[in-house]
């Protein structure tokens, strides 16, 4: 049986992924800044949000690989237009992660902040390959939202 971790960390996550789709307003909204009706095209609604438990970059041994992943995730910076941040862009990031994972010793297994109770009244910190966890998540988000019209994704 799968046992769920009992406690939760309170640290700020190293990144937060959000999936957006064009907002669906049933009524008109007034934009006080533009002094006119708001244009729904300017707004997106968040339909999914996820953040890793532990710092993903700490799970990468090589500084060069860390920079590479950082640059790759930068493609999904909220400053970019939503067309540039299309969900399909996740495929390129997954490819980058795969390259890092393939390099022996680059993505390491390390203890998580999350601990679980064991039968001996003790607690153990779970261990995970943070980069592989991120890859798993991104692949699922890509699979789910790839066919959603005009969906975009941000990572910050």
């Amino acid at each position: 049986m799968v046992v769920r971790p009992a406690d939760e960390s309170t640290e700020t996550p190293s990144l937060r992924l959000r999936v957006w789709r064009p907002t669906r307003w049933e009524r008109e909204h007034f934009d006080h800044g533009r002094r006119g009706p708001a244009d729904p095209a300017d707004f997106g609604e968040c339909v999914y949000v996820w953040a890793p438990t532990d710092d993903v970059f700490d799970g990468i041994a090589d500084e060069k690989d860390r920079r590479e992943l950082h640059a790759s995730l930068g493609l999904l910076d909220p400053d970019r237009s939503h067309e540039e941040r299309a969900v399909s862009k996740l495929a390129a990031i997954i490819e980058t992660i795969d390259c890092i994972l393939e390099r022996a010793g680059s993505a390491v297994w390390s203890p998580s902040q999350i601990s679980v109770a064991t039968s001996d009244l003790d607690r153990l910190n779970l261990r995970q390959n943070r980069l592989r966890t991120l890859r798993h998540q991104l692949q699922w988000v890509l699979d789910v939202f790839a066919s959603a019209p005009n969906a975009s994704v941000t990572v910050r």
Partner: protein, 706 residues
């Protein structure tokens, strides 16, 4: 073959994976593959590396249990070639490629190692924020959609499994057994058995798993309340005959599921959200056309699992800062049920799990097995490893599961916790195989939970004489052999007297109880040393002063070692210092001598760190490693030395540094009903001075000025 729970199997598998060597994972379907096994890739386990893995750490068993592994599946061409080899010219071999692809994909989704590819709209509604009813169809049960809901969408998701879905699963099961019982073609390999096995058994396991998982809420309608249920049975009603309604067609089953959902919706508030969970497009369209909500996921068209690397520990899809883990045994169990048998192997041996063994092997099925999720297993150690361990070839394998239930024989209920089982249950992980095997079997040692032991001691002392059943109930353990480990530990030290089925307290047990209740650690230790295996361990540690926990020459089994060290640490006999090992702490020091040691250790640390404030935890650890003074003793002596004016101590309070949280020790908490062992961080200031945050200290010689 013996019956294994997943917990018991963990320790056996741990023996197969002691190093970096990957385990090979393979499956067998007896009718399709005969005695051949289908290779499904390899599994690498990732425990905490040995130098940082002291007592109570994330060892191999923990890594297997908490999903710290990677399963590398073979590429599609390799998997298909493996399949052809395993089928060995069986009928329908070409079709079998598709069946394997689909069946494996479904099993992986049921395990939640891969998640269903839901439609974007469905995910946008998740997680639920109010009670929501999910009505799964058969595809959702078989293909992993329902497992995802059960594991990730609680507590709001309420599952209502339509009776017709149960019936469809049962039909699949019946189809499989028809092939299995086919006497005409007995002995011939038949790939069709693989298909029936894959689509029936895994689905049935999902329904059982959800039923026994208390965190999952399953709604059930009234008996016989499924609408249109009568339509699938033969009827003499003329009108039904005229309408052709007695002919059961595939779409009727789908229709019944929609009708179940609609009917349920009439029984709840109109705004109660309800979704049909399906991977069937036709079903989804029909439900939407009827105004029902749909959670649709792709199963057959989703990307292949071949060539992927799956890990057992991933993030929760909806809850931040929560990890989801799937144990290696859950994986092995799911594959065993889906295919018939699954096997993990390394150069050290192999462990096979059979969900449906041949009847000639003496394995039976009982409802108890489903409730406990127990399967029949077979552990074979390689001849090479047995020779290396100094065992004669063919000698019984020392399976490391002393605390687990293991049944054998036709009845499936006879307990194996007799002396013979103890002989077999040495309780060690793979690292500990070696010359110690013979010593371990010569001197039985016992793994148990100390706090439960205290509870049992209190119960026996209060009642003077108890029966085994009463003892078992006191411990709240399901299996008698688990209780017997407690009893044997006490009886081996003459602390109890066992007569038939009754157990009575010896005078030494009363003395032990009084010592524990009063926090008299020395006296409690003295009474416990009457247990030969415990005394042997303390003698060994006393002679060697410091050892690593995984030292193979320690005189007790691994599982017992964990227990014995917890008790010893709490009673002040040893302390485990991270990065050093287990240190014997038997120094008898008086307050003046302690004052001198305290200053010496402090001055050394102050010099090393260049600061007059040193960490209290580090100071305590160095007192233990350099001068054999246990932290609990040091805490007492520090107070006495200060009071007597031998020493002056200043404390600096601050927030504890979490880097040292793993530096903790077991201590005995007395003064309550039954004492408890609890783990306390050594570097938190409140260990040394209760109620404070004295994280750093300064030790000075007492002067008049001070």
């Amino acid at each position: 073959m013996e019956l294994f729970t997943q917990k018991a199997a963990l320790h056996v598998i741990a023996r197969l994976a002691p190093g970096d060597e990957p385990l090979t994972l393979s499956v067998n379907e007896t009718i399709a593959f005969g005695e051949d096994w289908l290779d499904l890739g390899s599994m690498t386990v990732h425990p905490e590396p040995p130098p940082q893995a002291p007592f109570g750490s994330f060892d191999i068993a923990a890594a297997l249990r908490f999903g710290a592994y990677e399963w590398r599946l073979p590429p599609q061409q390799v998997a298909e070639a493996n399949l052809q080899n395993a089928l060995g010219g069986a009928k329908k071999a070409d079709d079998a490629k598709k069946w394997l692809h689909e069946g494996l994909q479904d099993a992986v989704r049921r395990l939640t190692l891969l998640w269903p590819t839901f439609d974007a709209d469905s995910v946008a509604r998740l997680p639920f924020r109010r009670p929501t009813t999910i009505v799964p169809d058969t595809t959702a049960i078989t293909q992993g959609g329902l497992d995802f809901v059960g594991r990730f969408l609680g507590p709001w998701a309420r599952i209502k499994v339509p009776a017709v879905a149960h019936m469809e699963v049962d039909n699949h099961v019946d189809n499989y057994f028809r092939v299995r019982r086919d006497r005409k073609h007995r002995g011939e390999r038949n790939a069709r058995a693989l298909r029936h096995h894959l689509i029936s058994q895994g689905a049935q396991r999902t329904l059982l798993r959800l039923q026994f998982d208390r965190s999952v809420e399953i709604d059930r309608g009234d008996l016989g309340a499924d609408p249109l249920r009568g339509i699938i049975s033969q009827t003499s009603d003329t009108e039904d005959k005229n309408l052709g309604l007695q002919e059961v067609t595939r779409s009727f089953a789908d229709r019944l599921i929609v009708e179940t959902a609609r009917r349920f919706q009439t029984q709840v508030r109109t705004d109660h959200p309800l979704f049909i969970l399906t991977s069937d497009q036709g079903m989804a369209r029909m439900a939407m056309a009827e105004g029902l909500g749909v959670m649709f996921f792709e199963a057959r068209s989703s990307p292949s699992v071949y060539g992927k690397v799956l890990t057992g520990c991933v993030g929760h899809p909806f809850v931040e800062r929560r990890l989801h883990h799937v144990s290696a045994t859950e994986l092995l169990w799911e594959l065993a049920v889906s295919f018939g048998a699954a096997r993990l192997a390394s150069s050290r041996g192999c462990f096979e799990v059979h969900a449906m063994p041949e009847s000639g092997l003496g394995a039976v099925w009982q409802p108890m097995h489903a409730r406990e999720d127990a399967l029949w297993g077979l552990f074979r150690e390689s001849t090479k490893e047995k020779s290396a361990a100094g065992l004669p070839q063919g000698s019984p394998v020392d399976v490391a599961v002393p605390e687990e239930k293991r049944t054998s024989g036709a009845s499936g209920q006879e307990l194996l916790a007799k002396d013979g089982a103890q002989k077999r249950a040495g309780g060690r992980d793979g690292r500990q195989m070696g010359a110690s095997s013979a010593r371990k079997s010569a001197l039985p040692s016992y793994g148990f939970t100390p706090n439960k032991m205290f509870k049992l001691i209190w119960f026996i002392c209060e009642h003077r004489k108890i029966t085994r059943d009463e003892g078992q109930r006191t411990l709240e353990v399901t299996w008698q052999d688990e209780y017997l480990r407690y009893e044997r530990f006490l009886s081996s030290g003459g602390l109890i007297i066992v007569e038939g089925d009754e157990v009575s307290a010896a005078p030494s047990l009363q003395r032990l109880k009084s010592a524990l209740a009063g926090g008299d650690l020395g006296s409690a230790l003295g009474e416990l040393r009457a247990v030969p295996s415990y005394d042997a361990l303390l003698r060994d540690l006393g002679a060697r002063r410091a050892v690593q926990r995984d030292d193979p020459s320690l005189p007790v089994a691994q599982k017992a070692l964990v227990t014995y060290l917890m008790i010893s640490e709490a009673l002040g006999a040893v302390v485990e210092v991270r990065d050093v090992g287990i240190v014997c702490t038997d120094a008898a020091v008086d307050p003046p001598a302690f004052a001198a040691l305290a200053r010496t250790v402090y001055e050394k640390l102050a010099l090393e760190t260049g600061s007059e404030w040193v960490l209290t935890g580090k100071w305590l650890e160095d007192l233990a490693t350099a001068h054999a003074v246990h932290p609990v003793v040091a805490r007492r002596l520090l107070g006495e030395a200060r009071e007597a004016g031998h020493i002056e101590v200043y404390f600096e309070g601050s927030t504890p540094d979490q880097r040292f949280d793993a530096h903790a020790l077991w201590i005995l908490v007395s003064g309550v009903d039954v004492p408890q062992l609890v783990k306390r961080p050594l570097y938190h200031g409140d260990f040394l001075v209760p109620g404070t945050a004295a994280v750093r200290l300064k030790v000075k010689e007492k002067t008049d000025a001070a």
